[in-house]
């Protein structure tokens, strides 16, 4: 009889994942603290051209870019003369399943099919589940989506319930859990039980699938606008969106700055039952964005392919109220109803554009579908019912879990920079961990790549540990 206690399942993690991803992650480990990230990415065996071909088989990609002229005009009304970059969005909601996550799911599902797996399992409360369900439907594979959905009173986040509906509509089995990180042990147990492929968000297949998004941005801007964008803003949670997009931009030779944006949920504990339904954002927030950036390897694969600290030039936060506000701006000024994920980076872009020149270009690289449960109206209704104080005012007064402050004027929308050097230090500390031997030059090089920092910086941090 298999021991299915939490500890026993987690102890089998590496063996289960090896079986369920068809990849031995040990082969990429280096002596010391590092591993060969690029070798792991190359081990997918797919070039970007091949991934584009695979995605086209699933009708994924080639999503339009849209210039938000009215929103740009509004930003210029808030900016100094001559300032206010042109704001564009890449309308990823037009992908099958309604978000960029289709790119991420497609390569995993394709790989699962190729290797002869009968189905796929994924742990996600978000769009990724719908994307995996969608691609699995196209590929004729079975699909299980495991969600963290309810608090202990069985009250579900409306946005997550909508995702459950969508996954079921696309033929998936949805397993719903209460709050807690043991979601991953449940996934591991299901992988053992079914023998399905682990369509994890964090495998190289998933991240390689997002590279096409960055690549397309460069191609489309060159063809339609005649130049590369200056800034690309990515909503950041687990880090895969930013990592894949940045890698794609680099592969296309585009040197646009990559800025991460998350909703500020500081002060709320992500594994707290009591605080679960005090959040008005289920993803794209600092509760995922910060820990996954400084400790990417605590996901459901031994080494995550999402390593955003390697690629971000800047990391800013915006308030919940600012994102709701900008979502309504998008509807009222541009005629586009979109979901919250892309609108997190749109709120950031609206403010960042005001510091840039009028002839510069800032791109929000995703939109997502919206609908019952995940439209701003049900989100705000749910918050108000949970006792959150919703009012107009200055967003800087917002307290996550207590209030949502809608800007009394668009000029009040601000971004707050997170201290990247502080995050780099945390990353180095995490990576070194309990390693006792003196670090080799190879270890230092790994840390430089992990943090996108100089040798001097890394050696300085290591010396201070």
């Amino acid at each position: 009889m298999m021991d299915n206690s939490y500890a026993a399942i987690m102890a089998r993690k590496n063996d289960i994942i090896k079986e369920a991803v068809g990849m031995d992650f040990d082969q990429f480990e280096k002596p010391g603290i590092g591993f060969d990230y690029e070798a792991m990415m190359a081990a997918t065996g797919y070039t970007i051209d091949e991934i584009r071909r695979v995605q086209s088989l699933f009708s994924i990609g080639n999503t339009p870019i849209i210039e938000l002229k009215n929103l740009t005009a509004l930003a210029r009304k808030c900016a100094a003369p001559g300032k206010g970059a042109r704001i564009f969005i890449k309308d990823e909601a037009t992908n099958p399943s309604g978000s960029f996550k289709a790119r991420r799911a497609c390569t995993s599902v394709y790989q699962a099919k190729k290797l002869g797996y009968k189905g796929v399992v994924t742990a996600t409360s978000g769009n990724y589940g719908a994307a995996v369900a969608c691609c699995a439907a196209m590929a004729g594979l079975k699909c299980i989506v495991v969600q963290e959905c309810y608090d202990s009173k069985a009250v579900g986040q409306p946005e997550i319930i909508e995702k459950a509906r969508k996954c079921e509509a696309l033929g998936a089995e949805v397993v719903q859990l209460t709050v807690g990180p043991e979601l991953f042990s449940t996934v591991l147990r299901l992988l053992e039980e079914t023998g399905y492929f682990n369509a994890s968000l964090y495998t190289p297949f998933g991240i390689a699938g997002v590279e096409t998004l960055g690549y397309e941005i460069a191609e489309q801007f060159r063809a339609k606008v005649g130049k590369d964008p200056d800034v690309v803003v990515c909503t950041n949670a687990g880090g895969g969106n930013l990592t894949g997009t940045a890698r794609g931009l680099r592969k296309a030779g585009c040197s646009a700055k990559v800025i991460a944006a998350s909703v500020n949920l500081s002060g709320l504990h992500m594994a707290s039952d009591e605080q679960f339904n005090k959040k008005s954002f289920t993803t794209g927030h600092t509760g995922f964005g910060v820990p996954y950036a400084v400790n990417p390897d605590h996901s459901d694969v031994p080494r995550s392919a999402a390593r955003p600290l390697r690629y971000m030039d800047r990391y800013v936060t915006v308030t919940q109220g600012s994102v709701f506000y900008i979502t309504e701006c998008l509807a009222s000024l541009e005629g586009l109803e979109k979901g919250p994920a892309g609108n997190t980076s749109l709120a950031a872009a609206f403010r960042l554009a005001q510091d840039m020149d009028e002839d510069q270009i800032i791109v929000v690289q995703e939109t997502e579908y919206t609908g019952a449960g995940k439209h701003i109206n049900p989100q705000l209704s749910f918050a108000r019912r949970n006792g959150i104080d919703i009012r107009f005012g200055d967003p800087k007064d917002e307290v996550p879990g207590k209030s949502i402050i809608l800007p009394a004027h668009p000029s009040l929308i601000q971004v707050t920079d997170l201290d990247l050097d502080h995050m780099r230090k945390s990353r180095i500390k995490r990576a070194v961990g309990t390693h006792k031997d003196e670090l080799t030059d190879e270890d230092i090089r790994f840390l430089m790549e992990e943090t996108n920092a100089s040798e001097e910086f890394v050696r300085g941090v290591v010396a201070s540990l």
């Binding site: 206690s5 299980i144 069985a154 409306p158 019952a372």
Partner: protein, 99 residues
């Protein structure tokens, strides 16, 4: 009374509070990890009975019968007048000539 072959939802406890991960905040640790699954009921049963279902992927799952013919009720929420005010505000600023 649910009949064999009905589409139902079952509930089970995955981990009792004392079996849960150590890395949990205190409020979460007081509760079990609970699970809900839907499937085709394998025997006639009453709400609250321990039953077996077969899920969309063909898995056999067991749990307490908690819902018959489950359906979704999430919606677009009640009126949030601030949303209308935001729309009016930004249209006025953008197109109404106000700086």
């Amino acid at each position: 009374m649910a009949k064999k072959g009905d589409w139902v939802q079952v509930h089970s406890i995955v981990l009792q509070p004392e079996e849960r991960s150590d890395a949990l905040p205190e409020d979460t640790k007081q509760h079990p990890l609970e699970m809900w699954v839907k499937g085709w009921l394998q025997q006639d049963a009453e709400l609250g009975d321990e039953v077996e279902v077969i899920t969309r992927t063909g898995r056999h799952a067991e749990g307490k019968l908690v819902d018959e013919a489950p359906y979704f009720t999430h919606n677009f929420g009640f009126l949030v007048p601030e949303v209308l005010k935001i729309g009016d505000m930004v249209r006025e600023i953008t197109f109404g000539g106000e700086k």
